[in-house]
């Protein structure tokens, strides 16, 4: 099994403010890894570095064995990283259909499969994203990422704002994607769901990896200390 993603002591800053102080993370082909931590600890920043939405300032960040330091964000995406960003970021003036096709790349995921996963999107195909309900936008963001047919799906709080049934569907979907061999990096707050799908977890605290291990080893003591539960 090849190592799909490998972060070693990654550091990064927003201007003068350092946000990451040493993130270490491994993700193997076909693996599902959960990135966990309290608010403001650096989960999203880590993901932004992986997608090259911001440069990292130190450490190494390798994707499928390639150092991403010299790559642009579109390059990384075309190497197979499908991002569902925090806060959805659908293209507001575009219709649902346009949002889905805008960055689509050929592969098993197409319009029909996405609509099968989220029937709600089918209903709203011609509506512009700006007027979608929050949950609909979330589905759209996931669908949009799947349409790029990624090797690695990155979900940053992808179930936020979804109704419980839909959330269950999405988790079921994630499990299905996993069973099909897709690699997934996810951030979420639902411990029980994470436990049901993730292989491993990485916990960050103040911008640094403080724990990394199998999901089974995530003890109540750890979650209490680092997640406040």
């Amino acid at each position: 099994m090849t190592r799909l993603l490998e972060l070693r002591d990654v550091t990064a800053s927003y201007g003068p403010v350092q946000a990451l102080f040493g993130i270490t993370l491994d993700l193997d082909q076909g693996e599902v890894v959960a990135l966990m931590g309290r608010n403001g600890m650096g989960k999203t920043t880590t993901i932004r570095c992986i997608s090259r939405l911001m440069p990292h300032s130190g450490g190494s960040l390798r994707l499928a064995g390639r150092d991403v330091a010299g790559l642009s964000a579109p390059k990384v995406a075309r190497l197979g990283v499908g991002l569902v960003p925090e806060g959805r970021r659908c293209f507001a003036p575009l219709t649902v259909a346009e949002n889905l096709t805008v960055a689509a790349r050929p592969g098993p995921w197409d319009m029909a499969r996405v609509c099968a996963l989220f029937p709600r999107l089918q209903e709203r195909m011609g509506q512009v994203a700006r007027t979608l309900s929050g949950g609909e936008q979330q589905m759209l963001a996931i669908g949009r990422a799947l349409m790029t047919n990624p090797r690695l799906l990155v979900l940053d709080e992808a179930t936020e704002g979804l109704a419980p049934v839909v959330r269950q569907e999405i988790w079921a979907g994630v499990r299905r994607l996993k069973s099909e061999g897709l690699s997934i990096l996810l951030v979420d707050k639902s411990l029980s769901e994470i436990a049901s799908v993730a292989d491993r977890a990485v916990i960050v605290e103040r911008g640094a990896t403080v724990w990394q291990g199998g999901i089974a080893d995530l003890t109540a003591d750890l979650t209490d200390r680092y997640l406040g539960v």
Partner: protein, 303 residues
């Protein structure tokens, strides 16, 4: 009869305005970039056409040159300047493109001298034709109507029906995100900006042919083009098209009819001056009224 001819003139002027505004619609309406140097690209096209037509004797080669020169200038400007400003405030774009106006104007004067250039219609397009109804109408003005309609259709198709168009609009909505999805938006924007510039250059060559080719010719065009785009609603090709026709009609008919109307209440001479004054602000009145009633323009989605 006169009224019919004036209505045709209004239509024709509207088409001419649309041609002038087409590049701006693309760059400003769709990419969301405030490009004050639009008029400079228009001027570049006109000068390139005049220079090449003078050197080769062929208007058509000149037309090709206008497209090429403006597109090249556009691409250069995008890569050297505009590209660094997408992430910035709109206001930085205003300052940068204002600076570009100065550079273009004086650069052109340096290259071509201070005097207006000669550019004339090819024989095949000059002269008047007789329309049904016995109206004599310059052929070239009909050609401009044709060009305007073709550009409108082409743009509309490009923006709404092609993936390139969808990507441009997505890029305008969230540039970072479209990049994160694997679309090389930087290259795309260079292409679109160059295309917008080429359209401006084409308009400059076509319209310059029956107007004057001189430094500063782009400035009134800039304002008019903005008026057209804004009345129609930013981002809408259809809006720009209808806005252009509306402005063309208002302006032409206003000039033709106002002095006559006023002469019923004023003496002839002051009716003429007052009428002309009113006519000259009419399009601004139109714009203000449209925007006050519909703050997002006639066909604009965004406020």
């Amino acid at each position: 009869m006169l009224l019919a001819e004036q209505a045709l003139n209004g239509l024709q002027y509207g088409m001419m305005l649309f041609l002038m505004a087409a590049g701006l619609t693309l760059v400003f309406g769709v990419m969301g970039l405030i490009n004050l140097a639009h008029g400079s690209l228009y001027m570049t096209g006109a000068f390139a056409c005049a220079a090449v037509a003078a050197a080769t004797g062929s208007f058509w080669l000149g037309l090709v040159a206008s497209l090429a020169a403006a597109a090249a200038a556009g691409a250069l400007v995008e890569i050297a300047v505009i590209r660094r400003l997408y992430a910035r405030d709109h206001l930085d774009q205003v300052l940068a493109t204002f600076a570009l106006i100065l550079v273009f104007s004086e650069g052109t004067r340096w290259l071509f001298g201070s005097f207006p250039l000669y550019l004339k219609l090819p024989g095949s397009l000059s002269g008047a034709v007789v329309l049904p109804g016995g109206l004599h109408y310059p052929l070239f003005r009909l050609v401009i109507i044709g060009f305007g309609a073709a550009v409108a259709l082409g743009l509309w198709w490009l923006i709404t029906r092609t993936r390139l168009g969808i990507r441009i609009r997505a890029g305008e909505a969230d540039r970072e995100m479209i990049g994160a999805l694997g679309v090389d938006i930087a290259r795309l924007y260079t292409i679109v900006f160059a295309l917008g510039a080429a359209l401006a250059g084409l308009a400059g060559a076509l319209v310059g042919t029956i107007q004057s080719v001189q430094v500063g010719m782009g400035e009134p065009v800039l304002i008019l083009a903005f008026v057209v785009v804004v009345i129609g609603g930013i981002g809408s090709i259809k809006g720009a098209f209808i806005g252009a026709l509306l402005v063309g009609m208002t302006d032409t008919l206003g000039k033709a009819l106002l002095p006559g109307l006023l002469s019923r209440v004023l003496d002839a001479s002051s009716a003429n001056t007052v009428g002309a004054s009113l006519a000259s602000v009419l399009i601004y009145v139109l714009m203000a009224v449209v925007l006050i009633l519909r703050p997002q323009g006639l066909f604009g989605a965004r406020a």
